[in-house]
């Protein structure tokens, strides 16, 4: 599960141990996690030697499970052209009002932002404030209405407007990449992101300082990226006040409108910004691993079961001195469940109607990069993937009673999942934590962006679930203590069985899944729509 924002380091509690005499199927499930989350695998960080070993492990297990290679050129792997990028220096940011130049102070007023495709950004252009920089065709919301930003720099709040009702849509539109894409589409040449109230509450500008040159990752799309408007700087509230000083827009009023959820004042600021941002860009090796179970009459259509294989590697020691972030729950167990679902299909001896493509994706923790690459460059014909069911960090520490299908509200996949779950005695319940924006934080979202109906399955809050999830997130999520011992294998098997039922239902249904009529994402990414 990709981190949304940095959590304070928490102290560890002793992990509950499950001294179980394991049944063969539970032992098989545990074996994957025990291996993938062993200290020897050093947290499976993208770009590390250990993730390459993990890829080979999954390929070998897929072979043993009876799948056929589903990667590139008849192999198990799909190479992903990963790019790691980080700010190379502090850059510069100068405001010019006529002849008066006001340099902003790095770390106090602004941080430079790294850009994966442009090593040296150097801009000088007039600035237009464009609110949130959001255009939503579905609701008619348009921050660019009446603005001319051609050849200019746009400044936007790093958030999305509250008037857009769907939290999933807001989460999507408020991402810097989306804001930059929208800016480019309107002819802007650069983007200044500004801290708003929402962002300030969860991860204030000042707290980001230690991470100013942390590397981020994406995949290279070569020269085909089209026009770009690099988001080259991030301004804190102090910097924002300096930007707006003396212009016709008042920073106070913008903040107040942001808080109130009313339309933000916007327009040209009558100033010019001269700025530089330098990025160190490196190529990183990585692969998605894919195996196919061929279907029968509908075999030209594919249901994807995905789970990310990477975790966050080796890092800061915890209170016990442990530096290895094993990632048992995140997401060795999701990968393990995927492999066991594959085995169950083969053991069943009855082929599904549609083909099933099992994909262990890479670089999820770096920003859903492997899945995004796969969804944009599938190893099967474009358009043949009818659905994605993603398994990411099911918290298997308790007897679960219900299931959260993130993204279920958007397509017919939701109803199919609910029905299959019901047959296993499990209810599907709404996301109890919409404010966590899980919809854009796991790999199903990459498929959504390719127009494919997709969900991520998480365990629900029923019974001891809410407390167990809270406990895991507080004590073990992205900590060295995310160990194999945390997992209750009886629940693990229930989860496998549930996923098998869901995958079967999707693969055997007469009709392929469709987006709900008029759905925001279905419209945006031109997916198959219910009439």
């Amino acid at each position: 599960m990709m981190r949304a924002f940095l959590l304070a380091t928490t102290l560890l509690a002793a992990a509950p141990a499950f001294a179980q005499d394991l049944a063969p199927d539970a032992a098989a499930l545990k074996a994957h996690v025990q291996f993938l989350a062993s200290d020897a695998m050093r947290g499976r960080d993208t770009g590390s030697p250990e993730i390459a070993i993990a890829e080979q492990y999954v390929a070998a297990q897929m072979l043993a499970a009876g799948l056929k290679p589903g990667g590139t050129n008849g192999s198990w792997l799909q190479p992903v052209p990963l790019v790691s990028f980080a700010s190379a220096d502090h850059g510069s940011f100068v405001i010019k009002r006529g002849d008066v130049a006001t340099p902003l102070e790095w770390g106090v007023d602004y941080f430079g932002r790294a850009n994966p495709h442009i090593a040296k950004v150097s801009l000088s252009a007039p600035v237009v404030f464009a609110g949130y920089g959001v255009v939503d065709k579905a609701s008619g919301y348009d921050d660019y209405k009446g603005l001319d930003v051609k050849g200019k720099i746009v400044a936007v709040l790093r958030d999305a407007p509250k008037v857009i009702a769907s939290s999933d849509a807001r989460a999507h539109l408020g991402q810097p990449d989306e804001q930059a894409r929208t800016a480019a589409a309107h002819g802007a040449i650069g983007v200044i992101l500004i801290e708003g109230n929402g962002r300030h509450a969860v991860f204030p500008f000042a707290a980001t300082k230690p991470f100013w040159n942390n590397p981020a990752m994406t995949w290279s799309n070569g020269e085909a990226g089209g026009p770009v408007a690099p988001a080259f700087a991030y301004l804190g509230m102090d910097g924002a006040a300096k930007l707006f000083a003396g212009t016709k827009l008042k920073w106070d009023e913008i903040l107040a409108a942001d808080k109130a959820g009313t339309k933000l004042p916007h327009g040209a600021l009558g100033i010019t910004v001269e700025a530089t941002a330098n990025t160190e860009i490196k190529k990183v090796a990585g692969n998605n691993v894919a195996g196919v179970l061929e279907g029968t009459d509908l075999r030209q259509e594919y249901v994807v079961i995905s789970a990310h294989l990477d975790h966050v590697g080796v890092g800061k020691p915890d209170a016990t001195g442990d530096t290895i972030y094993n990632g048992a729950m995140d997401n060795a167990v999701g990968t393990a469940a995927m492999l066991e679902v594959a085995k169950r299909f083969v053991a069943e001896g009855k082929k599904p109607r549609r083909s099933i493509l099992f994909v262990a994706v890479t670089a999820e923790e770096k920003g859903l990069v492997g899945s995004e690459y796969f969804a944009a460059n599938p190893t099967v014909p474009k358009g043949s993937i009818v659905a994605d069911v993603n398994l990411d960090m099911p918290i298997l520490t308790y007897k679960f009673e219900d299931l959260v299908a993130i993204g279920a509200d958007h397509s017919s996949v939701g109803a199919i999942v609910a029905q299959a779950a019901a047959s296993e005695g499990v209810k599907v319940v709404p996301d109890p934590l919409p404010q966590e924006n899980f919809f854009v934080r796991s790999d199903h979202y990459s498929f959504v962006k390719a127009g494919i109906p997709a969900v991520s399955l998480d365990l629900g809050p029923g019974g001891p679930g809410a407390a167990a999830a809270m406990e895991f997130l507080a004590k073990h999520y992205h900590q060295p203590s995310d160990h194999v011992d945390l997992i209750d294998w009886t629940q693990g098997l229930r989860f496998v069985k549930l996923n098998f039922a869901i995958a079967s239902a999707l693969a055997n249904a007469d009709e392929r899944p469709t987006w709900n009529k008029g759905d925001f994402f279905g419209m945006l990414y031109k997916g198959p729509m219910a009439k």
Partner: protein
């Protein structure tokens, strides 16, 4: 006359689907382990590297999936301290005769070696030449006959006298074994003196540049490096110039030795003149590695206290000199495939639904390539009580690139294991044939030998020369053995791999479920030497 069309059909059927053919489930499972363990990502699994540790985790998790439980004191891993050692300096040796001391010259007269494994070791005393240092009653050989070597330094020729059975020769030709025999007779140290025959193979001058070559061993749980004969270590290797000085003035004439060795006659033995002051300094490093041990507990309330060991070394030689641009020595045949078979044997027991009567320990061994170290450690510190291990079946690099017709059982003629294996092989349509290359001394070159030395009936089962075997094996040994090309793209014959796995399962099943425990043949040399069950 042309062939009718139906006669071609079988050919067509055979030819067409090969490329797209999927492996049956048992073969796919076997291939999956080999594919993973020998992938480039595993970087050749050298003992002591992180890559080996990953391989060990893989074996542990696969053992668990196959229904085994942790077999080493409740854990999957038996820690092994892998030591590497070498002489840390060129020593100064002195020969004293009639009150006058002659310094010997390093690199000209001798090189010092690491036998003591002590940081510093010094010895002074008279020197006794004891031929090859062999004591082999069954062959009526006792090189120490009539000699008193108590408190003395024993000088020995390398190798063994002519005419010994190859496995016996391999046993006595080992310097460690010579040191053990010397120690048992009260000697303080051993010198190996270059013999004319050894000179013809590998002259002293060619050995000297490798004087500080690093070798490997293990340290016990107490942290002390294991020396095979700490009371009488091999302290040095003496060349012809040094030998002349050593033998000068003695009644043993060097020319007589040369002649006797050439003829295969008994070498003249006896005390030399003067005293030798010799010393060694050794640098020892220690690296953590591990054996992986999985247990399948037997069902019989009594027999379950007896253990059959199935072993296969997991390590290979790592990353080395590039061949055709490839630096990774993957070790698919050596010995990923042995481990794969071991895992699938465990799974076959699980599938059978019938527990074995005796217990089985599945042991994935470390540091075989560094000198059978993991197995030697395991045999010294077995995870169950000494004496409870009743047999070892080892799998080491069965060459599986052709349809197998027969198998070779190294050590099979020495114990009741041989007939059991022959019967199981026959049931698979396989013959057991004699070792076609006894001169390679495979008997002492694989891990079963560590169990032999602990008195346990033990064999390695290899694929045989029948059919395409001889040619295929020669090809593998010449082109791929210990080369980067020992990898998954070799023409593995997966049906044969599956057949070989079934054979190993049948052997294990027969051994676990028999009423009688395996025993050495009465009077067998190794059985007697190591006081094994049934030999007397």
């Amino acid at each position: 006359m042309t062939k009718p069309i139906w006669a071609l059909l079988p050919l067509l059927l055979l030819a067409a689907p090969v490329a797209a053919q999927e492996l049956p489930a048992d073969q796919a499972a076997l291939k999956s382990h080999v594919q993973f363990l020998s992938s480039d990502a595993m970087r050749g699994r050298e003992a002591g590297t992180p890559d080996f540790d990953v391989a060990a985790e893989y074996m542990a998790s696969q053992m668990m999936a196959a229904g085994l439980t942790p077999g080493a004191a409740g854990k999957w891993f038996q820690p092994v301290a892998l030591t590497t050692y070498k002489p840390s300096e060129k020593a100064n040796w002195t020969l004293t005769r009639g009150g006058s001391a002659t310094p010997l010259q390093f690199g000209v007269d001798y090189i010092n070696t690491t036998g003591s494994l002590a940081p510093e070791f010094a010895v002074q005393g008279g020197v006794v030449f004891a031929g090859y240092g062999v004591v082999y009653p069954q062959g009526k050989i006792d090189d120490y006959k009539g000699l008193d070597v108590r408190g003395k330094i024993v000088a020995l020729f390398p190798g063994t006298p002519k005419g010994l059975p190859s496995e016996v020769a391999a046993h006595f030709g080992d310097d460690d074994q010579k040191a053990r025999l010397a120690q048992a007779r009260g000697a303080k140290a051993v010198l190996i003196v270059e013999s004319p025959q050894r000179r013809a193979q590998f002259p002293f001058e060619a050995v000297v540049p490798y004087w500080d070559y690093e070798r490997s061993g293990w340290a016990g749980p107490d942290g002390k490096p294991n020396a095979s004969a700490p009371g009488a270590p091999v302290v040095g290797y003496v060349g012809p110039v040094g030998a002349e000085k050593l033998f000068a003035g003695s009644r043993i004439k060097w020319l007589d030795l040369v002649a006797a060795e050439r003829k295969g006659a008994k070498l003249p033995t006896g005390a030399l003149v003067g005293t030798l002051a010799a010393s060694t300094k050794v640098a020892v490093r220690s690296t953590a590695t591990k054996n992986v041990v999985g247990l399948l507990e037997g069902a019989d309330p009594v027999l379950k206290n007896q253990y059959i060991v199935l072993s296969a070394h997991l390590d290979h030689v790592g990353v080395g000199d590039a061949v055709n641009g490839d630096r990774i020595y993957n070790g698919a045949m050596d010995n990923a495939v042995g481990n794969s078979i071991m895992l699938e044997v465990a799974r076959a027991f699980q599938r059978s639904g019938k527990r074995p009567r005796r217990s089985i320990l599945f042991v994935s061994l470390t540091a075989e390539e560094k000198g059978l170290i993991g197995s030697d450690y395991f045999a010294h510190f077995p995870v169950v009580a000494k004496g409870q291990i009743v047999a070892d079946i080892n799998m080491d690099m069965p060459i599986l690139t052709y349809p197998i017709e027969d198998v070779v059982v190294l050590g099979g003629e020495r114990s009741s294991l041989g007939p059991v294996i022959a019967a199981a092989a026959a049931a698979e349509g396989l013959k057991v044939v004699p070792d076609p290359a006894p001169e390679e001394m495979f008997f002492v070159r694989s891990d079963h030998y560590s169990f032999v030395q602990a008195g346990i009936p033990a064999v390695s089962i290899d694929t045989g020369p029948g059919g395409a075997g001889a040619v295929a094996q020669k090809k593998f040994l010449e082109e791929n053995y210990h080369k980067p090309s020992d990898q998954i793209d070799l023409p593995f014959d997966w049906p044969s791999v599956a057949k070989f796995a079934r054979l190993n399962y049948a052997v294990a099943r027969a051994l676990t479920d028999a009423d009688q425990r395996p025993s050495w043949n009465k009077g067998d040399f190794f059985g007697l030497t190591f006081e094994g069950y049934g030999a007397k």
